[in-house]
Symmetry: C2
Subunit: 225 residues, 2 copies
DNA sequence: CGATCACTTGACACCTATCAAAGACCGTGG
DNA sequence: CCACGGTCTTTGATAGGTGTCAAGTGATCG
């Protein structure tokens, strides 16, 4: 593994506070691999053998049941995923597939758990990470239960706008088909939802979104943190 | 606080491994209180001043937005709630209200965070707890995105059946109005969903549910863990 | 016994999914 | 460079799921 990648991983919140000794020990057992697009890295229900770290590319976390499937999240560099399953030594709750060519590090779960027992700063960092993940999922759940698909889209766009600097125009960071699934709707419904946002000043051109801040009527979607 | 309660709390997974010194220190700052039914303990958006422990009764965790509201979970003794917000020192993501007369312990969040920094066994226990909570929410999210309301009800009933010993009959542990909200549907829809399960051998009498194991057709709901 | 509340039932409207087909986009290979 | 095939996206028509409103039933409780 190149030094630059090694350092990038070291700087992740989850690893930055642990001792050098434990970190190098953890990385000694690491596999690093380049995957092409559309490779299934993880299958729901299987034992969680590795903690994954994505260095480049992007990964879709999804789940299937009874012929339906849904994306739960998209992971981007540099971050870990499947942490909870690793810690609990429990089966994966979701599957993962590369969306594009991706470079991924695999840390054997038993190594992670062993260091977790030894290094209490690592344990504390994991707490912070998990609490954050937990809160993110709760927000998504509220989104699903309290909002219509049009409202979810509106809020997603407002969040993306803020994240990309707050300008009037920005790019979607994945294709609409996937966005629809992440937001819990069909591609057809997403397409119509975009049209439904036109009265609020939203125009779409491919993956380019523009939001002209028109008057927003009272019943309109409002952002929540 | 009675010794028996003190011991019950001590035996919670989250507290059982920490040192006596830290536990007593934590409990020294604890408030204990009996609340009547329908009291709002926590309001979404406010700073998380206390980690809560429910000793008796039951508490509804819910969220409101734009005139709609939804129950995210119901908490029962003996367990903690609002742990993630406490750890991250972040605003509550949900509100909480007592469903009945309830006895609740309040641990100042700053105390919890202080001990979290001192006691690494406590930190490790919190990891396990949070990982479990995280996985529970992910399961709920999959439920919401991959299943219809009828399927969610069917799976809920099967889970409850298993939990109550696997017998053909069991009792719902909260009223249908609340169950509907937890499952992400309206009371009217729940009522119809129960009827829709009759062909599968489900009969309802108040809060008493019977499941006669009839032949289950292939398209029918299947349990997932 | 009357009032209240939860639950049920019916009618209806809306949101959303499904199916089908046409258009837009993109990579590949000639 | 262009033609091609495939995929994504859009659009329309339709059906099904779900929420809303309203009214009625049943139970509980003072």
């Amino acid at each position: 593994m190149p030094d630059s990648e090694y350092r990038d991983i070291r700087q992740l919140n989850i690893f930055s506070q642990m001792t050098d000794e434990h970190f190098t020990s953890l990385m000694r057992g690491a596999y690093i691999q380049n995957f092409p697009a559309q490779i299934e890295l993880i299958t729901e229900g299987e034992p969680s053998d590795f903690l994954h770290i994505i260095l480049s590319g992007s990964v879709d976390l999804f789940s299937c049941w009874n012929g339906r499937d849904s994306s739960l999240a998209v992971v981007r560099p540099i971050s870990t995923f499947i942490l909870a399953a690793t810690i609990r030594d429990a089966p994966y709750l979701m599957s993962a597939r590369t969306l594009e060519k991706s470079r991924i590090v695999l840390l054997p779960s038993q190594d992670v758990r062993a260091i977790f027992e030894l290094d209490s700063d690592f344990a504390r960092a994991i707490v912070t990470e998990l609490a954050q993940c937990y809160r993110a999922v709760i927000k998504t759940q509220k989104d699903l239960k309290l909002r219509t698909s049009l409202e979810r889209l509106a809020n997603y766009l407002l969040r993306m706008q803020k994240r990309s600097g707050g300008g009037a125009t920005f790019e979607l960071d994945f294709e609409k088909r996937l966005l629809a699934s992440v937001l819990g709707m069909t591609p057809e419904n997403l397409s119509r939802a975009f049209k439904g946002l036109q009265p609020y000043g939203v125009t779409v051109n491919g993956t380019l979104i523009s939001i002209h801040n028109q008057a927003i009527s009272s019943g309109s979607p409002n952002p929540i943190p």
